[in-house]
Symmetry: C2
Subunit: 206 residues, 2 copies
DNA sequence: CACTGCCCATGACAAATGTCATCCACCCGA
DNA sequence: TCGGGTGGATGACATTTGTCATGGGCAGTG
């Protein structure tokens, strides 16, 4: 055995092709060992419980529960397991959410496999790694200027629901809902709530 | 050489990790040979011109030009090159658009590498392959009920622009725009143009 | 030709949405 | 304890949007 103790990995991604390919590439590194794979959030949790990996490499968007939710659960159940999030669409807000959930690494899928392997080692060693590009975006986007209610209402508005429905779902009066939407839109520099919702989503604020 | 003539492949995907991983996996098949890789639509075209591959494996969403647009150009410039589209998010309308562009295969990224290799061979042999799941979705979603104008206006509305702006951009009167949006929304069973736009997008009709 | 469907437009009315002034409850620091 | 500031809430009012009836032009088709 070339390495006395290999880093045991859990790989979670709903795209079989990608997961399998990542596994194949990481298998080339002789200090890494993929011990489990999962195709959904809940499955990832179950596999983690069963195999107690050193590092969990999670896709951000998965059916069931997204990577950050899985990370939150893992933090509670397996504090020794480091979490590394891999994503296609890096929204600034996701990064903050992920770091808040105790994630140790956050990288886009545009990295090469070698780089990924290095990052896995970094994370396993207890250090953090955040893709510089994504970090810059997150800093540029800054903090959400939205209050809690504004964000809540905006989220309900994102699917195009009419104000009446939003009001009901949020247990607010329609007037209040409109106020929140209005102030949120002006804070975001949008002309109406729909563009506001889109902007907020893009920046990961909802 | 185990195979006298290998199938020469072009791989295009903007996610380096995935592209590299796919390349690595496909390289294990001794009748397949990756001769070029690209990370964007235009780059894919350039690489195709330079290497004249037998089969082009294209991601549907790429910067620059999407897979279908690349396929259209390829069909004109390199009719001998078969095109296989690989995608994460299979919208029903995309499939139809792709087939219209002369694409020979259409598969989600959830397939395994072995399966992908088989499909590449199928396509190379001149046959077609469409993922059964996606095909079923496409049939279920049916044809777009929208007229050309309705779709055009709905697309402009998708970003949340006010009617006045849409009217200007489409060179129509505001009343006409509202009529189109209204009829489009009722055809789609939506309460307002924003949900209508969302639905149309989901089904790949815009 | 008559018919049908799509395109474009108009006007009027109803409903949803955006905007604003105002008010209340609460926390915090002087 | 007394302001002052802030987040949250409300209703009235103006604007935007959705709906409907209507009409003319134009292309395809039985």
């Amino acid at each position: 055995m070339t390495a006395v103790q290999r880093v045991r990995l859990l790989l979670a991604d709903d795209e079989h092709l990608i997961r399998g390919a990542m596994a194949a590439l990481l298998a080339l590194e002789d200090d890494l060992l993929v011990v489990a794979e999962a195709a959904s959030g809940p499955e990832a949790l179950a596999m983690a419980r069963a195999h107690a990996p050193d590092v969990a490499v999670l896709d951000l968007q998965m059916p069931g529960a997204d990577g950050v939710k899985v990370a939150t659960s893992l933090r509670a159940e397996l504090p020794a397991c480091r979490v590394l999030i891999v994503t296609s669409h890096g929204r600034p807000g996701h990064l903050k959410r992920a770091l808040g959930a105790g994630v140790r690494g956050f990288v886009p899928k545009t990295v090469s496999a070698q780089k990924l392997a290095e990052i896995i080692r970094t994370v396993h060693a207890g250090n953090r790694y955040v893709d510089p590009e994504l970090a810059a975006d997150a800093i540029a986007a800054g903090d959400s200027p939205l209050t809690e209610r504004e964000a809540e209402v905006l989220e309900l508005a994102a699917e195009g629901a009419p104000v009446a429905e939003i009001a009901e779902r949020a247990a607010l009066s329609q007037g209040t809902v409109r106020n929140y939407l209005s102030s949120a839109a002006s804070k975001l520099g949008a002309e109406n709530r729909h563009t506001a919702a889109r902007l907020a989503r893009e920046r990961g604020w909802v």
